[in-house]
Symmetry: C2
Subunit: 297 residues, 2 copies
Amino acid sequence: MFSGLSAFPLTPMNAAGPDDVTFVRLIENLAEANVDSIGALGSTGSYAYLNRAERARIARLAVQHAGPVPVMVGIGATSTREVLHLAEDAQQAGAKALLLAPVSYQPLNSEEVYELYRNVSHELSVPLCVYDNPRTTRFEFSDELHARIARLPGVASIKIPGVPADPQAAKERVERLRKQIPSHVSIGISGDPLAATGLNAGCELWYSVLGGLFPRTALALTRAALAGDSEQAEQLSRELTPLWEMFHQHGSARVVAAAAELLGHVEAPCLPAPLQALNNTERTTLAALLDKLALSR
Amino acid sequence: MFSGLSAFPLTPMNAAGPDDVTFVRLIENLAEANVDSIGALGSTGSYAYLNRAERARIARLAVQHAGPVPVMVGIGATSTREVLHLAEDAQQAGAKALLLAPVSYQPLNSEEVYELYRNVSHELSVPLCVYDNPRTTRFEFSDELHARIARLPGVASIKIPGVPADPQAAKERVERLRKQIPSHVSIGISGDPLAATGLNAGCELWYSVLGGLFPRTALALTRAALAGDSEQAEQLSRELTPLWEMFHQHGSARVVAAAAELLGHVEAPCLPAPLQALNNTERTTLAALLDKLALSR
């Protein structure tokens, strides 16, 4: 399951908590689009804002409505104890893989992060994806630490937070990491604005925010890149430049949440407070952009 | 209650969760030392690593064993929903004040943080302390935002993350903030290494990590400063320089946790995994230092 397009849907919220019905519709759309995997309860899926019972329920709904598409579930939390509980819940829900970021309150050091992955990896019966996202965890993985963690049992993929924009530098970056980790561990690109660059540079999959809402647009880009048509992949990405700029400015989750609200796929507000999607001026810009781009669900 | 020494105890952990018996002993020591207030479930008290039921229980234990000393309880969480639940629990436990940091996963913007405080402040029946701690929340308050939030109903104090080391610059910093907030809102210094400098610069209280374990040492420094003996306060702080250096290097919670373990006040390991107190080499250094400093509980 660690190749192609891994689509990360929102977990839409309402006043009472996660909006199950709307979440199921997002999952069904991903299953119909035939994405290669679904990443439920990723950052875009607001995992860090839900309690354990809600996360277990959302994990079950994702698996139940994904059809044959394998579901990976985010199990990040500040404490190792809670991560282990969440791993158990997600596996019981039928998750085919788990996604773990070193979520922090007190800034973590490398030894703490290694011990977190070591303790968790020994308790799992499904593969683990290492989620490297310094923007939300404020932890910077060194390649040396990636190499140590990638050798732990069950580690199957690393979700990297981006690559250099220059294609040659991106290739060197991916090759440098590739050399240090076992060959069975895939490298996936996240940070949608550089997804084409990452795939063209040798990443095996795209962990995609855009793909959670617009799977067919994200699939076209992914398939062009993985078929070796790097020009076509770059061209498809370039067409989305104004959207990527909004991702940079506001964070991808806020932009995709506002897009889902504008297009009527979720009720507004769909993000968990205190997070806010875009303000009115920004929404007007985004609405015009969505009209023009005609992204494909 | 927002003056003098506010002491922040550890919440010692064991394999099952918070170690109630040991926590109660720490609280009783603070009550006997007659600190001006107790900050239960602060960063040092690992609030971000406990679930709602554990936090409610620890809040109750703190209030029950603090005697006449007023207890403030930390209610920070990533979601506003959870913060409101925690506020309710803490007030039912008998907290005399609440402490709220803008805890984040997705980085927050100023409008989101303002709305968080606005929504929460309207639901409270006890005073609120604004907890400004960019090291753990990764959110930087502007003075303008402090001014807006300080005008919300019930806001009674701001816990600032430090002051410049230079006494004159520290004074200017505190005066600049003071001018922008209502006079009934106190300013408290945190970041123990600059506590004396902050108190001498006009902060009304010290939100103290050291004071959670060694209240009498922290009280001596606080009382000297608040009595106007700035030289004596600076001198007492200077004597602790090697300890402050360890705070800077490892984070104050890791150092105080290791000190509590070394002195037998808590069982080891007392921090919630994945957090680790100091390694063996660092512990040897700390043990020698504790011998030399003979801090007063």
